[in-house]
Amino acid sequence: MAPNLHLAHISDVLLTWAVFSYAFAMFGYAAEFASGRRVEVRGGGAEAVKQGTRRAELVGRGAVGLTVAGWGFHLSSVITRGLAVHRVPWGNMYEFSCMVTLVAVTIYLFLLTQPRVRTALTGKRRTSESVRCLGAFVMAPVVLYLGLAGTVLYAAPGPLVPALNSYWIKIHVVAAITATGAFMVSGVITVLYLLKERYERGLPPLHVSLLARLRSPMNPDRVSLGPGTAAAIEMTSARGGLMRSLPSAAALDRLAYRVITFAFPVWTFAIIAGAIWAEQAWSRYWGWDPKETWSFITWLGYAAYLHARATAGWRGRRAATLSLIAFGALMVDYYVVNTVITGLHSYAGIS
């Protein structure tokens, strides 16, 4: 059956709306996050602080509203795409990216509603404020991912290639999408953990120490910095910085761990389901195809993270670094393997 181009167009428009909603939500989250500090710095009476907090809270809630709206557009875009092409809407890289980000946003919204997560992050059960501070950091990669998907990876609507035409696409690919979306969220939380952990150890933020190293007299190629940059560094490097508004490193670490303990079994399942499918379609369950190999490397990376988290001298920063390396392997698995290396999984649909 030929694709319904009208519906496909509606799907594209809905996706654009979703991207804009997420982008505005990101600014909202960022504003709320940053204001937490500004009010304190400005001084002023208790009343001013209270008022400022209330305003920030409103902005934050607005951002959540925008996220939910964006999620609605996003979901509708995926559904209309599926209706337009008369099949599951995850048959090429563009569609896969849309699904992965949908999962990531869904997980973020789910965390927002969880009292246990709220308590774990700041001890306040009633408000979602503590989870909202993750908002900007989740929205940023989502917008980036969708931007890439809508431009570079975009594939015109069409049917599936025969190798994909199996009910296993509903099992294997859905598991891969879910795990990837969750790993994306855990990756964001892990980055925040590393930043906060650095702050808690009393070290200046990474960019400050890097710039300081560049500016040091020891460096032969001294970089001259404009007065504006210097002022910005002064502001952000003041002890406290934005880092103070983040939940404690320990809480972020635990949250990242919990998301990974969800994603890891799903990823394992995706690999196993993939092996069973490969046995149906290509006559062998495992053939060290680049996609298979990088999925396995990703799996080993997260397995190493889980072990490191339980090894004295490795938990904390080192374990977190391992989990980010594993996420890097996942990104190689996704972007590099699909576009650069030729293998059996060349379904990108881009030329």
């Binding site: 308590t119 049917p159 190798a163 190999t293 190493a304 004295a312 290396i341």
Partner: protein, 537 residues
């Protein structure tokens, strides 16, 4: 070897082996033991996991024999110095390389060394009773206290009933002075799952080994109307495993009625179908079946897959004397995704003296490529054209050197003409030989595979998932309750109850569960105590 091992050592919920005290006997044995302890430590496992991941990376960037042998040959030709060195280091067979095997075998040895003592310990832990309550319950971060008119015994019974109904392992103890304590524990499934997960990795290894030792696979090209019987000599390529014997080949056979492919307007394929008739034994009745890309034929423990397709051209050659010297389906091999294909016909005996060779290119839909040359512009045979060149001379078929049936070395041959034919058309060579392009058929390649370890692998995989879910999602936790009777004095004649709990890994989150448990143990009194402490530790 697992996430919980070292964690256990550092928390009060430990079930892990206590490190053996160093020292003891001197000499070779302690060194061996120290090495063994090193090998089975978590740190080594971590190192080996990382090494295995790193070792797999070259296998995805360097061409691999198992995936694309042609690419490896090209690489070797392009790098005459580096290539052989890389070959020597097994870099073209990374996943079969000794150093790759060394890493994963060490990992499995480390795993076994870690698992055996842990299984023993866990079995012991499963039989042990819940540990005593700590002296100062209220010091735990998740704890609560309330007063009641019930006696300590009644409180303990109520607690026991509630805990039992939620599948806790409960132990009631009566201490001196009428004090009653209840100790409860649950979440053993975490460690059970953890052990199952790691044991099932070994099961997977067994499954892989079974297939590697007893399986076979082979490929065969069958043209429309042709047939195949499952015996070694009928395969084009046959790869037996180490312990394979021919008696393992099931006596089935099949014939290909017709292969069909459908394409989108842009040339992308939408479906492939091979209509066959198969027999499970030579005397059995023929059964029709459609083999498709995701729909193999299961037969007698083997599977038949559709793995490739192409065009087979019906060509006949008649010599000047009018005798037909060649008439058959000639498979052409595709060169690109639009099925521009090449093939040859070799006639070693044209008329008793001369030999004739034909080399051809076939275009299912003839058109012009971007550089102006003739090529196929669509994979379906919409406008089929066969471009032929004829050669005379010694084809070299009597030299005894095996030759490919898809290529002809024309270096020593003389070109005696070229032409373009459409189906049904003939071409008469100067010497009177007539070549007729009679029509277009298709061929399909089938892979037959027998993997005896498949069931073991599936069982292992299911256990892997189940074990992983239990070990990552179940939380080990403990709950204690102490009821002090009124006679102790400081409570104004009422029983004082203290309850507290611990959850491993997420201490702060036990508060919610504690609140729920206390609410059920003492629906009236407990509620007065207010929400139990849920502050983060």
């Amino acid at each position: 070897m697992s996430e919980t091992l070292v964690n256990d050592e550092l928390t009060p919920l430990s079930t892990a082996p206590t490190p053996v005290a160093p020292g003891g006997r001197r000499g070779v044995r302690p060194t061996g033991r120290r090495l063994w302890r090193q090998l089975t430590s978590m740190r080594t496992a971590l190192l080996l996991l990382t090494l295995l991941a790193l070792a797999a990376i070259p296998g995805t960037f360097i061409p691999q024999r198992g995936l694309d042998p042609v690419k490896v040959d090209n690489f070797l030709r392009a790098h005459p110095h580096l290539g052989p060195l890389m070959n020597h280091l097994s870099l073209f067979d990374v996943f079969a390389a000794p150093w790759f095997a060394a890493i994963y075998l060490l990992l499995f040895v480390s795993l076994v060394g870690c698992l055996v003592p842990r299984i023993r310990l866990h079995a012991a832990a499963l039989r042990r009773r819940a540990p005593d309550a700590p002296r100062h319950l209220m010091r735990l971060s998740a704890s609560t206290r309330w007063e009641t008119d019930s006696t300590p015994g009644e409180v303990a019974d109520a607690a026991r009933a509630v805990l039992k109904s939620s599948h806790w392992r409960v132990d009631r103890r009566d201490e001196a002075d009428g004090v009653t304590t209840v100790a409860a524990e649950r979440g053993y499934l975490r460690e059970t799952g953890n052990l199952i997960f790691h044991v099932s990795l070994l099961v997977l290894l067994v499954g892989i080994a079974l297939t590697g030792l007893y399986g076979y696979k082979g490929t065969v090209l069958v043209t429309d109307g042709g047939s195949f019987a499952n015996a070694r000599e009928f395969y084009d390529v046959f790869e037996p495993s180490r312990l394979f014997s021919d008696s393992q080949l099931a006596p089935f056979s099949f014939s290909l009625d017709k292969f069909t492919a459908a394409y989108q307007p842009n040339g992308e394929p939408t479906s492939f179908n091979a209509r066959i008739h198969y027999r499970t034994s030579p005397s059995a009745a023929a059964v029709p079946y459609d083999i498709e890309v995701n729909h193999p034929l299961n037969i007698d423990g083997a599977k038949v897959f559709l793995v490739g397709h192409g065009y087979s051209l019906r060509i006949s050659v008649t010599n000047a004397a009018g005798h037909t010297v060649y008439d058959g389906d000639t498979p052409f091999l595709p060169d690109d995704s639009l099925f521009t294909s090449h093939g040859v016909v070799k006639i070693p005996d044209l008329d008793g003296r001369k030999q004739l060779g034909l080399t051809g290119f076939f275009y299912p839909t003839e058109g012009f490529g971007s550089n102006g040359s003739v090529t196929s512009i669509y994979p379906a045979p919409d406008r089929p054209v066969l471009s032929l060149a004829a050669w005379s001379g010694d084809l070299g078929m009597k030299s005894g050197v095996p030759q490919s049936v898809y290529s002809l070395n024309v270096a020593a041959l003389k070109n005696i003409g070229t032409t373009q034919l459409t189906p049904g058309k003939s071409w008469r060579l100067r010497d009177g030989t007539k070549v007729t392009f009679r029509g277009v058929d298709q061929w399909a390649t089938f892979q037959v595979a027998h993997e005896p370890g498949k069931r073991t692998l599936l069982a292992g995989a299911i256990l892997v998932i189940a074990g992983l879910l239990a070990s990552l999602r179940v939380r080990r936790r403990r709950f204690w309750l102490r009821a002090v009777p009124a006679s102790s004095g400081d409570s104004g004649g009422r029983t004082v109850v203290m309850a507290a709990g611990l959850a491993r890994g997420e201490a702060e989150s036990f508060g919610v569960e504690l609140e729920d448990l206390v609410g059920r143990i003492a629906p009236d009194d407990g509620a007065q105590a207010g929400a139990p402490g849920t502050e983060e530790s």
